[in-house]
């Protein structure tokens, strides 16, 4: 559906990234991960047309968008990192205008507003809370029912209800076979919904893999009211170097642990854990790991 080929972006002599090539298929959710300043927003801006590329191609259904802006107009919806609408106009007037530019129906717009629980449609954009501005920005990406959706840090500033709504809508969009890119600087943020993860660091894609190959369980974490006793017990049962006592938790190497057995062991010694959960790889782990090879 969407393909980027060898995209390069430079600001003067400063290279933001180069050789960015990837593909997003219909019904696929790709998480675009990278630190702040890695160029995620710039890359999404290039796909949506607000930012020029220095080199490379963006293809939609095999056709170059540089030669045909209508490909972007009819296929791409983007939620920019910071919501930017006419401040003195209401939600309704703002979204009506943008819908009008894409010949999107009023009914379609009302459905979107309903989905996002945006009820204060006559309120001025400048008077909205950060959370509501974000909801509106996400809602605007759906205008025109585009086949490709780009979300830039969608959950930042979003209230918990908004986050749930967003994830529900993403699932619905996936079921409608939309190609979706979600950028974030937090791996945990989107790891649950993404199918594939692309990491950008130091101006290059350093990982482009299915989620299950990137996000892997790393530790079993135990929080307990009996920390000292639990630690002693586990140290005796397992090898020393796989049990780490930290300030308020015990971390154990996931590879050596069967969670059920571990829980039974603690309970049988009257040391029931308060919390027992798996901690996945973090963004930092992945960066540290990839740095060894780059």
């Amino acid at each position: 559906m969407l393909k980027t080929v060898a995209i390069k972006k430079k600001y003067g002599n400063f290279l933001v990234f180069e050789d960015i090539s990837f593909e997003v298929n219909k019904g696929e959710i790709v998480a675009l991960i990278g630190r702040n300043g890695a160029g995620k927003s710039t890359l999404l801006g290039i796909i949506a047309g607000s930012i020029n590329k220095t080199y490379g191609h963006v293809l939609i259904e095999g056709r170059d968008t540089a030669k045909n802006f209508d490909l972007i107009r009819s296929n791409v919806g983007i939620q920019l990192e910071k919501s930017a609408f006419y401040p003195h106009l209401s939600i309704r007037n703002n979204l009506n205008f943008f819908s009008n530019l894409k010949n999107f129906s009023n009914k379609g717009l009302n459905d979107i507003l309903e989905k996002f629980a945006i009820h204060e449609i006559n309120k001025k954009f400048s008077d909205l809370s950060q959370g509501m501005k974000k909801r509106m920005a996400i809602a605007s990406a759906l205008i025109g029912d585009p086949a490709i959706l780009l979300f830039d840090e969608p959950t930042v500033n979003l209230d918990p209800e908004g986050i749930f709504i967003f994830y529900d809508i993403i699932k619905e969009l996936k079921s409608k076979r939309k190609a979706i890119i979600i950028s974030s600087h937090l791996l945990t943020d989107i790891s649950n919904i993404a199918d594939r993860i692309i990491f950008i660091d130091r101006g290059k894609i350093i990982i482009d893999l299915p989620k299950y190959r990137v996000i892997i369980p790393k530790y079993v974490v135990i929080r307990s009211n009996y920390m000292k006793e639990s630690y002693e017990l586990l140290k005796n049962k397992y090898s020393d170097n796989c049990v780490l006592l930290q300030i308020n938790e015990i971390k154990m190497d996931y590879k050596n642990i069967n969670m059920e057995e571990l829980n039974k062991l603690l309970v049988s010694h009257d040391l029931p854990p308060k919390e027992l959960f798996i901690e996945n790889t973090t963004l930092k782990d992945i960066f540290d790991e990839t740095r060894k090879y780059h």
């Binding site: 930012i51 930017a84 401040p87 003195h88």
Partner: protein, 266 residues
């Protein structure tokens, strides 16, 4: 390019702009300038002519020669960078509008706004002159019906001709609003360049038009000139029409290539 999107954009922007502080300030400025002309007419009628006609045309002369060009340059110089500073251009260019659609839309918008400002000034001056000096003064007595029928087409023509110079100024203002991301910067450069533009061929050629007659001759004397067919409108179309349009086009091209290369961030 989608012309219907440009029209939608212009209509939306007009609705939004006519209630904006910038547009209302322009109207207030026009009204204030007319009131100053009323005051001048009252305290020094011998200088301006003393009739209702003289007020209307003196006031319009000032608007056409100074206020409209000045306002067109200032308003157009913040037309793109103001929206860009709020991130709206980034939103618009993200799949909604092509940059050239945006550029043409802004261009046409400012021209439409100036037509509105011009009509407001024209109507306001006539109404104000009518109220103060009496409507017969500016409708029947000043110029005979016969003379008026000869004079009016030329008057309308010479009122429209400044539009070409204003188009050149709008072009320049839009270029400034693309080149300078900072609004204060673009306004300052516009004011500076407004003072220097007289030395560039073609920009201010309309100054030799309609208003000169209003200023040089009281209108009742002008009647005699018209009746005797002595009045000549020496319109040099090359200087008045073509040169400003060439300037406008060249500057528009620079704006076009510049905006194509620009990145719009939020």
């Amino acid at each position: 390019m989608k012309p219907e999107n440009i029209i939608k954009f212009i209509l939306f922007e007009i609705k939004k702009t006519i209630f904006s502080i910038g547009f209302l300030s322009s109207i207030i400025l026009i009204v204030l300038s007319s009131l100053i002309w009323v005051f001048s007419q009252k305290i020094a009628p011998q200088i301006i002519g003393g009739s209702g006609y003289d007020f209307v045309f003196s006031s319009l002369r000032f608007d056409v020669n100074f206020l409209f060009p000045f306002l067109s340059l200032i308003i157009s110089s913040v037309s793109i960078n103001y929206d860009a500073s709020m991130g709206i251009i980034a939103t618009l260019t993200s799949g909604y509008m092509k940059r050239e659609e945006l550029l043409i839309g802004k261009y046409a918008l400012i021209i439409v706004l100036f037509v509105m400002i011009f009509l407001t000034a024209l109507i306001f001056n006539i109404v104000l002159g009518g109220i103060i000096w009496g409507f017969p003064e500016i409708t029947e007595e000043g110029i005979t019906t016969l003379s008026l029928s000869l004079f009016l087409p030329k008057l309308v023509l010479s009122s429209l001709l400044p539009v070409f110079s204003i188009i050149a100024l709008i072009s320049l203002g839009i270029l400034f609003s693309i080149l300078f991301r900072n609004i204060i910067g673009s306004i300052s450069v516009s004011i500076g360049s407004f003072l220097l533009l007289d030395i560039i061929k073609g920009f201010f050629k309309y100054k030799s038009f309609l208003p000169t007659y209003a200023n040089d001759l009281p209108f009742k004397e002008l009647n005699k000139v018209i009746e005797n067919n002595l009045l000549e409108f020496n319109i040099n179309y090359l200087e008045i029409v073509l040169i400003p349009l060439i300037w406008a086009f060249l500057i528009f091209l620079i704006s076009y290539f510049k905006i194509k290369k620009m990145d719009f961030h939020v």
